[in-house]
Amino acid sequence: MFKGLNQVTRLKETASQTAGPYVHIGLAPKQAGFDIFEKNFTNVLTTPNTKGERIRVEGRVIDGSGTPLRDVLIEIWQTNSAGRYNHPADRQDKPLEEDFRGWGRGSSDFETGLYTFETVKPGQVEGRSGRVMAPHINFWIVARGINIGLNTRMYFSDEEDANAKDPVLNLIEWEVRRKTLIAQRSEKNGEVVYRFDIRIQGEDETVFFDI
């Protein structure tokens, strides 16, 4: 592999391929219609001990014709309510909760296209150059027809001040597009619900990131 003193060689990242229509077999087999693993990864991030405000995130992923994707798989990644990621690279001086991983995997309903996550509202986390980022949840979306996973972020409608200062939202030149990343808060039967619809294409196309 080492070819010469002045030659910089690197391996190339393995190419992406679509997850296909049957992604559930591998990543959510119960939804595919069978039970195989003893322990399954789920869309519930919380345990009874998890600190912070309990929230439900729900929405649909919508294609260029306005039709919800009913075969989409979504993973989310977030900090705990104090704003710390459960990962050794996060060395912020904030409390870590060992049993809150901050990761969840969900898929849309085969009939309605609705996805949901049960989690807590994340805290603020340090961004680049010490600039604090507004609370957000990182999304990764794969499905049939998506050649490479789509990355986006969900922000919170009740964090107007923090959102206005958020370095990532402010990177988006078109103010009208920033709104596509902000989930609307509501309360249903005493539960806090954030609605986050993701539009892959068309009017109000969601902002996706090259991370």
Partner: protein
Amino acid sequence: MSNAIQQFGEFLQRDKTVHPPAYTPNYKTSVLRSPKNALISLQNSLSEITGPIFRPDELGPLDNDLILNYAKEGLPIGERIVVHGYVVDEFGQPVRNALVEVWQANAGGRYRHKKDQYIVPIDPNFGGCGRMLTDDNGYYYYRTIKPGPYPWRNQVNDWRPAHIHYAISGSGWAQRLITQMYFEADPMIADCPIVKSINNEEAVRGLIATLDRGAFIQLDSLAYRFDIVLRGARATLFENKIQGGK
């Protein structure tokens, strides 16, 4: 521990020439499922360099044995194979503790999925999914049945080559990758619109597992070698300092 910290630097920018573009009309489903706007480029922050960490006790002892993990009344039908390889980053460093998840059709080309209606029967003894963590060398392996090719609704006469789907979680969110592994010498690879969504011959070759005669299990299984490269993490720490470090 110093090694462990080093691998958590910022990730190299993704080289888009090795990946399929979002919009590939010969793979028809991509037409309405591809963003039309340019992606917004983001420098890595903690949100991108961190990611979920998985533990061995979250997996079962047979999770990487697709021959046995759904065997109900007998063994699944088909060619028995071992698939193995290394998960490394662009610098050739092993990616330890990476979660590798695989799924596939059975030997006849049918998935155990409520939406798959292909005429070939379901194999009662084959689930078609497995998962494992890489070891300290980035090594993984599993046993399975070689999947069959199958027709699909794209152009009327399109067939998928035999393939196994992979989902890999490395050490950070920005490394997340889903791909498919194909088999050496399969004539269907060249015709597949999903394979052809990649406009880079070298990148396609990287998705083709090689028959590995040295790893055959005698009188039992063929073996294929498939190495995976995830994005490289720079050795320098995020903005050259430890987060929160004094």
